[in-house]
Assembly symmetry: C2
Homo-oligomer: 251 residues x 2
């Protein structure tokens, strides 16, 4: 487990304003750790981040809860930050830029010299206007307008997730194949020739057009699926085990 002294302090500070339920504090800690965010601040929480309920709900993200800092007011919680975003689900007559979670987290990544804090309001009411107006911009997560009420920890999860995706820049697609390698084209060609010969001998190709059609389909299948050596061995095993009738020998 990460210890307090080695806790990374990159990434925005997650500030929960007046959270009501210990479970939500715990689940938020879990979501933060899932996404590599370590700094939690709580403004006048109703329950302790170290309560049994919070610790249980964090599913092992104790480190976040143990290091959570508690403040009496939002102003004090944000005092050492130089840019604040406020998350809201409803618009409320503020004159303010509104960013998606995607856009806001890209801003955070683009400006590593700044210390960012992100405010999340209490479960039932969301942030008060007195808190929203302290923010440089609003984060509004684009959701189904017919059902946009998110659980507190899920709102944190989505923002933290957006940040982490940009922070790590994970490859968008990979191919896992364990210890085997892709079969090279020579092996694939040999394999295709083997089945084509076996089919030829079995007498399945009654008409030349049928032969061409089947051969092209088989070649497409076994090249498109980017077959590995391990899989090729399985296919040879199957083909050799099957007793494919050899009509050419019989005739």
């Amino acid at each position: 487990m990460t210890t307090s002294s080695t806790m990374p302090d990159k990434g925005p500070i997650i500030i929960l304003v007046n959270p009501q339920l210990a479970e939500n504090i715990g689940m938020t800690a879990r979501a933060m750790l899932n996404c590599g965010l370590y700094q939690m601040r709580l403004v006048a929480p109703k329950e302790s981040p170290l309560s049994e309920k919070a610790l249980a709900a964090s599913s092992g993200a104790d480190i976040i809860l143990q290091n959570a800092q508690i403040y009496p007011s939002t102003e004090e919680a944000i005092a050492d930050c130089d840019c604040i975003y406020a998350t809201t689900a409803r618009r409320r007559g503020m004159i303010k830029p509104i960013y998606t979670a995607n856009f806001a987290t890209q801003e955070i990544i683009n400006q590593p010299q700044h210390r960012y804090g992100i405010l999340f309001g209490p479960e039932r009411t969301g942030l008060h206007n007195d808190d929203v107006c302290l923010a440089n911009a609003i984060i509004e997560i684009p959701l189904n307008p017919e059902h946009c009420s998110l659980n507190l920890s899920q709102a944190v999860l989505l923002v933290a997730y957006e940040w982490y995706q940009k922070f790590i820049s994970a490859p968008q697609q990979q191919f896992v194949k364990g210890k085997t390698e892709f079969a090279d084209k020579e092996k694939i060609t040999l394999f295709l020739k083997t089945i084509e010969d076996k089919l030829e001998n079995s007498g399945i190709f009654t008409q030349p057009e049928k032969r061409q059609h089947m051969v092209i389909n088989l070649r497409n299948i076994f090249t498109r699926c980017h077959i590995t050596e391990q899989e090729l061995n399985t296919l040879y095993g199957v083909i050799n085990h099957l007793n494919i009738p050899n009509h050419s020998q019989k005739s």
Copy 2:
């Protein structure tokens, strides 16, 4: 509330394989509705999607639970789909493409002619290999490798969120200003002239360099923050109320 007959069927089908807890089925329904996904399938769930616990946890996403379809096996649940993704947190020696949630959902958006299903495994174990190998590709959500265990509904939320962002293509930034308009440049110039004159008269500019420095800063502030007419009126109100000493009159 959306009724069954008008339920949109765009977007992938969310398939929970052997979910153990009714709460997670309910929370998943909520996450789906948050992100505009309506089609839930359950493979041999331990508890009913219409149980009290599931309905309570759905926070009003009953419509998803009422229309959830139950199947005895994964094969039957995916039978009418033509592309399946399996979500996993651990790699397990499969020879298979791995996509991020971002990449996989872009594929879904790019291929509207296909019916996609996304498999999510039971809470403790995740999907069995027997289910994973039915999938065209694996979705692996990039998360902190030191703490990548997600709650079931949160895994669904992240995938559903990624899909919805592409489905709606929300503007990444906006500016809300209610019924007021941005003040035009003439009004801003007049306002700046007003404060500069008042400051001039107050005797604050003891040195020409100081004057230039302050004036440039003030102009930068009030142009950068893209001020509205409503806010300009507030500023005029403040300035007119303040009794700014008029040294030039006194001298």
